[in-house]
Amino acid sequence: MKSCLIVDDSKVIRKVARRILEDLSFATEEAADGRDALEQCRQAMPDVILLDWNMPVMSGMEFLSALRAEQEGKRPLVVFCTTENDMAHIRAAIDAGADEYIMKPFDRDVIEAKLAQVGAL
């Protein structure tokens, strides 16, 4: 079973994403900000990270930069999942090492399609 860390400061979003991902046979964990996510990744690196952009303490972009700078461990697939829906944000995310990008709002079809794009299913 593949694992996915859901990183979002919204409890509702985490709950919805968790339901979809578990339905897609992922084992899921949650983090409410980038720093919490980074600590969890250092303990056990997930296969996939679903990542919000705007969060308190540490943003999605700060988290991604720190994660990609880590030298050890496996390289998880990172899928941004954010309300930022302009080309500048998308390019910045891909340049920083994101593998895919979901523009909120999302549904099961979108998450499934995007995970299929990166070969995570």
Binding site: N85, D86, M87, I90, R91, I94, A98, E100, Y101, I102, M103, F106, D107, D109, V110, A113, K114, Q117
Partner: protein
């Protein structure tokens, strides 16, 4: 009036105009798809609306609206990915060799709906532009629905539509943000032209095509309509061309003018057998 006269009236209209067989167990589709049209004509219930039409008859404009409302326009970019992988990896490279002299390829997306299929094919060519430099690539998208073709020509898609089937890299490469929508790039739009065309009516498509995609449409047709359409597709296809059907469709038991490619589901080649001409449905 018979209790199902309204349904029968709609069913006859769909069969005559679009070749669609409407089974009685699809009544839920009628309720959901015709609701807005019924309300627009002052009826609370679709059933009452259809009964009214069965009594009074259906004018030309309303007939068009009914057929358009009942059509399934479901589609998305790179739908069922396998046919596009097959085009990219196998069919297009073969055609590049076979058409090296003319350097011209014609492709018909015969049930293009709102345009995602022909635009996806145009993206394949754009992503291998060096190989196709100097070639004339003619991609034609047709659909029975005028509304769908109008949308296809606009090249504008919602955020939801561009997230189904398109990787973020393709979105970045081939689209621009346009207000709340995403616009297909001028380069991709220039590769595709659209026209309204009813597969049961006359076809004015010009020279034969090298590839015809007719996916997820024959499955809605009665047997005779499938035979008629496949016969005419055979005439519209180059002798060494390829036909691509949907995953749930087949020519087996319908036409002997095509032979399936057993390695590639949904791919067919013309056999060279001239199929008989069937009485046209319309």
């Amino acid at each position: 009036m018979a209790p199902d006269a309204g349904f029968d009236c709609l069913s006859s209209l769909l069969r005559a105009r679009a070749g669609i067989e409407l089974a009685r167990n699809k009544i839920y589709l009628v309720e959901s798809r015709l609701g807005p049209l019924a309300r627009g004509h002052g009826f609370v219930s679709v059933s009452d609306f259809l009964k009214h039409l069965a009594r009074t008859g259906i004018g030309e404009a309303l007939a068009t609206d009914l057929v358009e409302a009942m059509l399934n326009n479901e589609t998305f970019f790179f739908r069922d990915i396998q046919p596009f992988d097959m085009l990219k990896e196998r069919i297009l490279p073969q055609l590049r060799t076979a058409r090296a002299a003319s350097r011209r390829i014609r492709i018909w997306s015969a049930a293009a709906s709102t345009g995602q299929e022909p635009y996806s094919i145009a993206m394949l060519f754009a992503e291998d532009s060096a190989s196709w430099a100097g070639w004339t690539i003619d991609i034609v998208g047709t659909d029975i629905s005028r509304r769908a073709i109008t949308r296809a020509r606009s090249g504008l898609y919602s955020q939801f539509e561009v997230q189904r089937g398109l990787s973020i890299h393709r979105l970045m490469a081939h689209f621009e943000k346009s207000g709340e929508h995403w616009a297909v790039s001028p380069e991709i739009r220039a590769k595709v032209r659209f026209q309204t065309l009813n597969l049961l009516g006359p076809w004015t498509l010009g020279a034969p095509f090298d590839i015809i995609l007719c996916r997820n449409v024959l499955m809605y047709f009665a047997h005779a309509c499938k035979q008629d359409v496949l016969t005419r597709i055979h005439r519209q296809l180059s002798p060494d061309g390829k036909l691509v059907l949907g995953a749930a469709e087949t020519v087996l038991g319908v036409s002997n003018a095509f032979v399936p490619d057993w390695q590639n589901r949904g791919l067919y080649s013309p056999t060279g057998i001239q199929p008989p001409t069937f009485a046209r449905a319309v």
